[in-house]
């Protein structure tokens, strides 16, 4: 059974995976004593020094009417338990990811609108038939309800994960659509037994409150220092003075408005945490070396030099967010392949002089590095997509075969741009956004569009970039930004049957609908890029939000020596290289098969 079959039976399951202690109460190395015995959770542990979180239990929930679809899925593998389904699920609602292409929409996170899962349950009598190793020792194991007991036994949800399965009766669990979320809170049970779970995508770990780069450091000057001193004594933890914040060999530190670098930190006295900093260069990055006083607080400074933009982003997400944002959420090979193909010449060099939310830095990197990242619930990864033409043939959809009633089309004139002014080559990172603090500026405008006869509207975006140093990228950035937003951005919302749900965020569609025509009233196929998908009726109907797609036509990609000629590639005699190749067109701008010629990207 699948979404393409008729009379499909949608089913859903929520799986909450909870870390558990792999030890047994009172059995060495566990030294726990007393009653009641633990429930292998940290909150109920009586010997937390020896708590071993390497075990887990996955609680599975579904609707009462669907339990037959999940028969037999319970299993135990060592210290990892996956329960059969508990039929107390009463409702689910998802708020989908909404992609912010190239972080271009101001006021919105570079990660776009974050996806969220809300789940409702009805509490049920629970007699701990699964997962309680000490049930026979309990006074009255049959007392109480499932969620009331869970809340009492688990004070925090950190380390928990939540999978949301959507599929059809008859499908194996591994073939169902799976989405990963991290639980944030569980409300209830209320007097009626209702329980609500809220979970959000893992990028929540990079949000403003949780992730700063560089993190706040507590480093104290031991003595007064002069404006030329090159050996400095400080009090600090080892981590604060030696951790890497960026990709440079030197470490950087800020004292007041001065930044200086050091190469070596030598431990002088361990109990007090005194270190001697040597190899110092005072007043770097156009900051002024000045005297500083004993007990002044110093802050580590982050710096990346000549590093691909997406690699800077990768470093921030994997090394400067809480441990929960695992490497496994990012397909580094996909990032490298995408970046090397489309963004290889763009390098970032920038200094972050104070703790700054990772999400803010990500916004800068995505916008100026010309790529988008978002949480893909289905693949459970954070993909990276360059702002580029599509590599695959757009998916064609139309009114008759695909689009359900209720499509909407909206314009966003406030997002339109006719001019972009970019200041780059930042001098003093402490001085901030002042045009005089930047070595260069790049301007891109469209005077024809601004002319009175064309509407006479001027819309300017000014960008101060700490990362861009090269003219090439400055030109690319301003050109692409204006190209994308010169015409009023439009947003199309369509509903499709689940048979089309292979379409996902980032997919480019060629939409033919009666509501979009040419000047003569004929339906006109238009390219759109999917920025959000929401399975509004799980397993039945999906709503897609799409944004106008700026790249129209075939864009060329340099090919390796020995690649076939166009006629061979078009004849299907081997892999179709036309989407990722380039050949010269005829004098009329057409290829031999009358298709449009290739354009430079």
């Amino acid at each position: 059974m699948s979404e393409t079959q008729y009379n499909r039976r949608p089913v859903r399951m929520v799986e909450l995976i909870q870390p558990r202690c792999a030890l047994r109460f009172g059995t060495a190395p566990c030294m726990a004593e007393g009653t009641p015995k633990c429930y292998n959770t940290y909150s109920t542990c009586r010997d937390q020094d020896n708590y071993d979180p390497s075990g887990s239990i996955a609680w599975r929930f579904t609707d009462a009417s669907n339990q037959g679809a999940f028969r037999g899925i319970g299993e135990v593998d060592g210290e990892h338990i996956k329960t059969p389904v508990i039929p107390c699920l009463t409702g689910t609602a998802t708020k989908p990811t909404r992609l912010n292409l190239g972080a271009a929409r101001d006021g919105e996170s570079p990660f776009g609108v974050r996806s969220q899962l809300d789940v409702d349950f009805q509490d049920i009598p629970w007699f701990d038939q699964w997962g309680d190793y000490y049930r026979e020792d309990r006074t009255n194991p049959n007392r109480g309800t499932y969620w009331a007991k869970q809340k009492a036994r688990n004070e925090f949800l950190s380390g928990w994960t939540c999978f949301y399965y959507e599929g059809y009766a008859g499908q194996a669990l591994e073939d169902m659509q799976q989405r990963l979320f991290l639980p944030e809170q569980i409300d209830g049970p209320d007097a009626g037994g209702k329980v609500s779970l809220r979970a959000a995508d893992p990028l929540q770990l990079a949000d403003r409150r949780r992730s700063l780069f560089p993190r706040p450091t507590h480093i104290i000057l031991k003595d007064d220092i002069t404006d030329s001193q090159t050996t400095v004594a400080v009090f600090s933890s080892e981590a604060d003075i030696t951790d890497q914040f960026g990709n440079t060999t030197e470490r950087y530190i800020r004292a007041g408005d001065e930044i200086f670098s050091y190469t070596t930190a030598t431990l002088i006295d361990e109990p007090s945490g005194e270190y001697s900093l040597t190899g110092i260069t005072r007043g770097v990055f156009f900051t002024e070396a000045t005297a500083h006083e004993e007990n002044d607080t110093l802050q580590r400074v982050g710096r990346y030099e000549n590093m691909p933009f997406w690699e800077v982003e990768y470093d921030l997400l994997t090394k400067h967010t809480p441990a929960g944002l695992k490497d496994s959420y990012i397909d580094e090979a996909q990032w490298d392949a995408e970046g090397n193909q489309y963004l290889g010449i763009f390098r970032a060099t920038g200094t972050v002089p104070e703790p700054t939310p990772v999400t803010d830095l990500s916004g800068e990197l995505c916008q100026q590095g010309l790529f988008s990242i978002w949480w893909d619930e289905r693949s459970q990864k954070i993909p990276m997509l360059a702002v580029r033409p599509p590599a695959e043939e757009p998916v064609a959809i139309n009114d008759r075969q695909h689009i359900l009633p209720g499509a909407t089309l909206k314009e966003a004139p406030e997002e339109r741009l006719t001019r972009v002014l970019l200041y780059y080559g930042q001098r003093n990172p402490v001085r901030g956004d002042d045009p005089g603090n930047y070595a260069r500026a790049q301007y891109r405008g469209e005077p024809d569009i601004e002319a009175a006869v064309a509407g006479g509207e001027v819309r300017t975006k000014t960008v101060f970039s700490r990362w861009i140093r090269e003219d090439t990228l400055a030109i690319q950035f301003t050109r692409r930004l204006v190209a994308r937003y010169l015409k009023t951005p439009r947003y199309l919302t369509i509903s499709l049957d689940a048979k089309d749900r292979a379409i996902k965020v980032g997919t480019v569609l060629r939409v033919t609908t009666r509501t979009i025509t040419d000047t003569e009233g004929n339906e006109r196929p238009v390219l759109w890029q999917v920025i959000s998908e929401n399975e509004i009726k799980p397993g039945m109907t999906v709503i897609y939000d799409c944004q106008t797609y700026a790249f129209v036509g075939a864009f060329g990609v340099y090919m390796a020596e020995g690649s076939p000629v166009y006629t061979v590639a078009a004849a299907g005699l081997g892999p179709d290289e036309r989407p990722s190749g380039a050949w010269y067109a005829g004098p009329d701008g057409k290829m031999s098969d009358e298709s449009e010629g290739y354009q430079y990207q």
Partner: protein, 263 residues
Amino acid sequence: MSVFIEGTIPTPNNPRIIWDKIAGEVAASSEDALYEAILADQPQTYTAWRPEAVPATWSITPVSPVPVDSCAIGCHNLGSSGATVFVEYFDGADWIEAATATPTDDSAILFLFAEVAAADAWRIRITGAIAEIGVIMFASAMVFPKGAQFAPGLPITEAEQYEYNVNKTDGGDWAGRSLISNGLQFSVTINNLSETFAAGDWAEFRRHANEGDATFFIAPKPLAYPKEVAYAWSNETIRASRNTPNKAITRSVDLNCQGYREL
């Protein structure tokens, strides 16, 4: 759903409710982790016993022998697994077969047989394939002294509840249909019951259905309509109202039930 009648039983077309299962010590030849044998002795539908290998047995040994004339099995996948079930009792010397069947689907099963007054233990034996069983009841069935009303009514075999979601495109084409199943919903009406019946077996069943574990197996016409059996419960208070000024036939029962349906 299937009723299997072994041998001769009294009033085979009168409605039967199996609820008063024998209590005792449960044991099994084997059990998978998370699928312990004791779970099949409990009313909830989402837990089950599953053996590690077949042939397998699940047995219950009462403290003292009690009469048993029925065995009901629900929330299982015996049919789709291809298993065969034997119902057996221990007479002190050997296991004796009371009934057997090879189910063809996963709907509720009811075995009815001549009463065994004093068996030491009862069991089901599964052969052919490993399967899961959610509910097993051995009991003396409550037999109604009158037949169930034939019409008007909805047969249990057509009591499934579906919600349909049809997608038609903007161009008017049919794009697909999804259906959501929501178990069974049916009613069984039995008229002309006596005050004696209401004060006896019926009163005990009411207490169970309204205040106790609540679930039961029901077969309105076991012989004539063997497909009509369900593992069910009521969402409203069960009562037997008085309708005529004649104590012998005054009571009427209208059971509005929801039932378990394997997806």
